[in-house]
Amino acid sequence: MQMVSLKRGVSQNMGFATAVLLLLALYLTYNMMHPRGFSSAVAIQNSNETVAIAFVAMAQTLPVLLGGLDLSVGAVMTLTNCVASLLLNGSPAQILLGMGLTLLTGTMFGLMNGLIVVYGRIQPIIATLATGAIAMGLALLIRPEPGGNVDGDLGWALTNSVWDLADTYGFADGGDAWWLRPFADIPVPFLLVLFVAIFVWLPFRRSVTGRTVYAIGSAEGAAYMSGLPINRAKIAAFTLGGFFAACGGLYLAIQTSSGNADIQQAGAYTLNSIAAVVLGGTSLLGGTGGAIGSLIGAMILRVISFYFRILDIDPLLQPLIEGLVLLTAVSFGAFRTLRVKNQLDLFR
């Protein structure tokens, strides 16, 4: 009985399972080849570089589950990045308030996206194309030149290991308490992403609103006829997407202690987030997948780029290899077409 349900669980989450295995294989090999592999320092550096794209990929997941696409995630992340670069300094209370305001900015922007999509009845992809431009404009207003002023202690504490966090803020005997020892070497950024995934994404997925998001992605008409709260679910999905994007922007500001309203960078984040979502096993047609998968997908994307540092590859060939890997990875989806028994099933 147990075996059967496990088998079914894996076969229904093929994309996700493949992504996890791929990530494990890639990352273990990476650490074995790295001269200082399996050390805290390498893990800290890697996780620092992954956080922003991981959050943005999670943000992209929700609209994709609805069967849409959010072209504004990169711009919202940039906007919140600029907001955070202004607010994250002063007394601890001021810093906390700044964090709250940053997250609120992104969440409100997501809410606006949701309201436009639901009550304006505009296709998500085109509505967010426009609101993305607005977000970039606001980001440029806030920060015409790159720069910022982020509290140094905060930047140090959140971008290193748990021991450094405890050491900086002087709790748990400055990091030497016995109960902290098992966790002392874990990178804080990794825990932050995990925290948001477990305490924000999982409860949402289990709620009626979250399930409705999946239902809408599978068959909107059927979801409507079943009396599910369609409008609420759509608005909630975009709002939560905005919140995740804000988490990414907030962390990027803490990590780089600056804000940068760069249109190219925002576009790159948006496009990479789509790639990460697909790699993580979420269908672009909506209805299947999840934010955890996208998290894995984002990590895979990043690990591939880490390889360039340890392998002696001509830097000029790097973009080409990145592109080929991405194209090959998404082409695996084509196996679906071989299994189809009725040609008509290929057409939506």
Binding site: L69, L71, A127, G137, I274, L316, P319, L327, A334, F347
Partner: protein, 316 residues
């Protein structure tokens, strides 16, 4: 008599009215600041349309793909790759080379979407990344020739009978696309496939070939735009196509083409392009900083779609 406008033409009429509003607002601004009205001079408008022709040609190709309910995100680097290989080859072969690059990319995109059934959103994105990689690898190690050939310079900068050649090329492309969409079986098949691929397939349309055809047209248009842009700036450079992707999508949608496919007229796309080009030029006359431009740009798209781009309410 009460004017009645069919649903299909409403976007076109409203977008045209908005163009007039932009022209009036811009002229009012220049009259009040400098006392001149450059926006209404034919020369200035032709010059704006000349720079707008690159966007116009990209949007023409993009429209074919959007009519199918797909999207082509590989336009930026198809444009760049075509321009860079054309200038690297040089001479008489430059133009055929660019078109060959466009053809190859289009076939690849079409194959991935039509046969492998990978969503166009992600497949064309992957192709775009690969093209970028190829161009970086090609030009990074050594510097190939990047000067535009005389023919490219002529097409982009010279005038034919007083009209900039780039506009003539744009008009030719527009005419061909318009004829294809309204007068040929291929055009009809595009609308049918975009409305419901399953039904189109069952009624005997070879939908796979139609999809490949549309992607080839899109990439060819991007290649032509690349050749013109290389001629206009006298050289090909990396990232020259980045500024065209989102405005092209916006122009097509503002012109009333449905983003999920099946509906839309080419004249609308034409008007969408002119709207975006004029909006941009009025904003630069007003010396609007980049921040304000982005905000206004986004608000205009949202505002116009709220007027006429709304979906049906889901009821079953």
């Amino acid at each position: 008599m009460r004017m009645s406008i069919s649903i299909e033409n409403r976007p076109i009429v409203i977008a045209s009215l908005f163009i007039v509003v932009i022209l009036i607002a811009g002229t009012a601004y220049t009259l009040s600041t400098t006392g001149t009205a450059p926006l209404l001079s034919a020369n200035y408008l032709l010059q704006q349309l000349q720079t707008g022709s690159f966007l116009g040609i990209c949007a023409a190709g993009m429209m074919m793909v959007i009519l199918l309910g797909h999207i082509d995100l590989s336009i930026p680097w198809t444009l760049t790759a075509a321009a860079m290989t054309a200038t690297a080859v040089g001479g008489d072969l430059a133009l055929p080379t660019a078109l060959a690059v466009g053809l190859a990319v289009g076939l690849l995109n079409g194959f991935g979407v039509a046969y492998l059934r990978i969503p166009s959103m992600i497949f064309t994105l992957g192709v775009d990344t690969v093209l970028r990689g190829l161009m970086v690898a090609q030009t990074g190690g050594f510097a190939p020739q990047d000067k535009a050939t005389p023919l490219m310079l002529f097409l982009a900068k010279d005038k034919i009978l007083g009209i900039p050649a780039a506009i003539v090329v744009w008009a030719a492309v527009s005419l061909i696309i318009m004829l294809v969409l309204t007068r040929t079986g291929f055009g009809r098949s595009i609308y049918a496939t975009g409305s419901r691929e399953r039904a189109a397939y069952l009624s005997g349309i070879r939908t796979r070939s139609v999809i490949i055809g549309a992607f080839v047209v899109s990439s060819l248009c991007a290649a032509i735009a690349g050749v013109l842009l290389a001629g206009y700036s006298a050289k090909a450079y990396q990232g020259m196509g980045n500024a065209f992707l989102l405005p092209a999508i916006a122009a097509v949608v503002l012109g009333g083409t449905h983003i999920l496919g099946g509906k839309g007229r080419y004249i609308g796309t034409l008007i969408g392009v002119i709207l975006i080009v004029l909006l941009n030029s009025v904003l630069s006359i007003m010396q609007m900083p980049e921040a304000g431009r982005q905000i206004i740009y986004g608000s205009v798209i949202i505002g116009m779609l709220l007027v006429y781009g709304r979906n049906q309410r889901i009821t079953s």
